[in-house]
Amino acid sequence: MGESIVRDNEYVREVAQKQYAYGFTTEVETDIIDKGLNEDVVRLISQKKGEPEWLLEFRLKAYRHWLTMTEPAWAHLRMPKIDYQSISYYADPTARKKGDEKKEIDPELMKTFDKLGIPLEERLALSGMAVDAVMDSVSVKTTFREKLSEKGIIFCSISEAVREYPDLVRRYLGSVVNYRDNYFAALNSAVFSDGSFVYIPKGVRCPMELSTYFRINARETGQFERTLIVADDDAYVSYLEGCTAPMRDENQLHAAIVEIVVMDRAEVKYSTVQNWYPGDSEGKGGVLNLVTKRGLLKGENSRLSWTQVETGSAITWKYPSCVLMGDGSQAEFYSVAVTNNFQQADTGTKMIHLGKNTKSTIISKGISAGRSENSYRGLVKVGKQADNARNYTSCDSLLLGSTCGAHTFPYMDVQNPTAVVEHEATTSKISEDQLFYCRQRGIPTEDAVGLIVNGYAKDVINKLPMEFAVEAQKLLGVSLEGTVG
């Protein structure tokens, strides 16, 4: 065993020198407004985006409500003190040529997204995937818009949607996540900048994957993205979200809202590979990822699935949820959350069963390493009217090392006697037998751990679209490198 310890230690050193692959910054002229938050800042953001009066009112109401609230303290997280006055709430990297309609994209920005593997030129793009690329507070480009619009599909930044489809946006914005919902939702509602808007008309199956890539670049700014997806009757869409940020010593704030409305018999798949900068191995810096994601399964027999692979961020506070309102609606939540070093994650879901014959499935896999804390927190609620509701929850935790924590906090609230709600959880470590078996076959410990962890997370990874699944597998390996000693 002595030899293997030596080898492992070498490996740890090697990995420690390795850097977060997306940690570079882009030198681009950025229009950043002054730090601080007050009503004037909210008005300024609205003005810069040329918004209608109703949206400014929406923002102001949210801002005033936010002032009355306090940060939630119930999560199993040690949250650093956030000084909301030391953050800039709007940064526009496309502002280089003022008044030039922003038609030309700064080549530096193109290069940045190229480097991230997200080419913005359609001829270079991954086949079958349309991208909305968002840097800091502004959408840089949305590809394949025209092609999609032939089918009546709207895919654009939310700022454009406000201008071009005000009725649709006004009808659905805030209809799933009210600005009063929680502290960060109120903050986002007041200062949200950009994000994507998707509308799939009745009976249309979206022919390509839609995706949004979020990038934080500017220093000391927060990103407050807002995404709204509406799938009308019998529509189908698969949507992907990816994100990265440069390495900075200070924490970066990311407080997003994603709202999804699913009508009769429609289906939405929402996948996330979250790889925000996790901070360094000393726990310095990293993104504070405080996100409210919720889907309303409004229609009969509607379907929604959330799949998330969470490997980044210093702190993750995120509970993609489903309100199963339509009779016969079905919701799924698949999650892999990996924490290493000083990362902390408190993530899970809420399944609120309101309609009859509704069904939800929760599969959560937590993997903790280093000195990290990884918690699953979930609520399954079955309302009085939700006859024959079914839920199955399985959450497993894997601990790699004895300095990390793995926790499970499920809440179940059942008010209907015909419901069946099942929850299972286990916590364990990688089995010595499995490791030894791999090593006997000549697989080094590190690789064996990677193999076993990927096998462990397979149920969830398999739910991702192909390209993402490969990415996610690699990411799992990288996130856990140097964890076995």
Binding site: W74, H76, V382, K384, S397, L399, L400, G401, S402, T403, C404, G405, A406, H407, T408, F409, P410, Y411, M412, D413, V414, Q415, N416, P417, T418, A419, V420, V421, E422, H423, E424, A425, T426, T427, S428, K429
Partner: protein, 422 residues
Amino acid sequence: MNALREKAYVDFQRQGFPTRKVEEYRYTDMEEVFAPDYGVNLQRVQFPVNPHDIFKCSVPNLSTSLYFMVNDLFHNSVMPKTQLPEGVVVGSLCQQALEHPELLQPYYGRLAKTEADSVTALNTMLAQDGLFIYIPKNVVVDKTIQVVNILRSDVDLMANRRVLIVLEQGAQAKVLFCDHAMDERSFLATQVCEVFVGENAHLELYDLEATHLQSRRVTNTYVRQQSYSTLNMCTITMHNGLTRNTLEVDLAGQYAETHVNGCVVADKQQHVDNNTLIRHSVPNCQSNELYKYVLDDSSVGAFAGKVLVVADAQKTVSNEVNANLCASPDARMYTQPMLEIYADDVKCSHGSTVGQLNEQALFYMRQRGISEAEARLLLKFAFVGEVIDSIKLETLRDRLHYLMEKRFRGELSHCEGCKVHN
């Protein structure tokens, strides 16, 4: 006992009654529980009552050393005739504190932290008497120590009891608590119970509540187990109004083993909230937890069970199961099984279900000619039977199976044959 009151008062003032905003009390609003105006028997008026006249335990062949607490008062006048092994103390906490301070002092108030829980603070502040059980080193008490708590009053009453159980190294004992309410008054009973299970000591602790709809019971039980000790505990709620049981077990010595089980049968407006914490403080301990609820009418059940494994408590094995049946559209079940784990070489699991009786099993039984109603009953007995089977005391176990059957058939309003309720 008095020494702690002042601190308890300060702690209580600071905390107040917990509302549902406090995570540990999210299913039972303590402010509301304590809101009604209850009389407290400060003058220590003796109720003219001879428990032996009114109480006859219905468990046949259960030969116990029988003791009574009336409200918060230990009944010295009706001590059992049986002789306990030498050195064993079962008696009034108050009196023993005067007679044997050296036995109590190392233990009293050591587990029940007034700064951590305001009910504990209130109880520490107000409790005037209670029960003290002391089993010296290597003494085995064969006969079950049965303590019957009787609530008896002509006015609405609050009683604050305090219990201290100490098993020294190698000691063994079986303790059975039975809670009964005698008068149709509103009662609120708080009990703080501290239990020390010494090295290689073995304790069986059973707690049966059969009170009535106007009774409210808040118990906080704190257990500390040393190496190689075992605890076998079962809490059964058959009849009650509102019950909140807090149980904390600290596995403080290696190779300790704990089995904590509970079973709740509730209907009408009964409310039962069990909140448990099992703390694995050292390596190589084992814990098992099984709680089952059957809820009918508009009863409310809550179960929150946390297993905490501290860093370095390696080789912990822990399993927690909570299964529930909701039998009516107005019944409501909250369940929250939690794992908080800081050590990697552990095997921990929990499972929780809310559901109905197995339809396949029901049909199978009907195919054999058993009526649907009868089949449902059989399945319900089987459901709670698993918890009752964990009781080692055979006579008690058999009797509980019988009582449960009666309870489900609606033929039993209280412990049958128990004259307390006549």
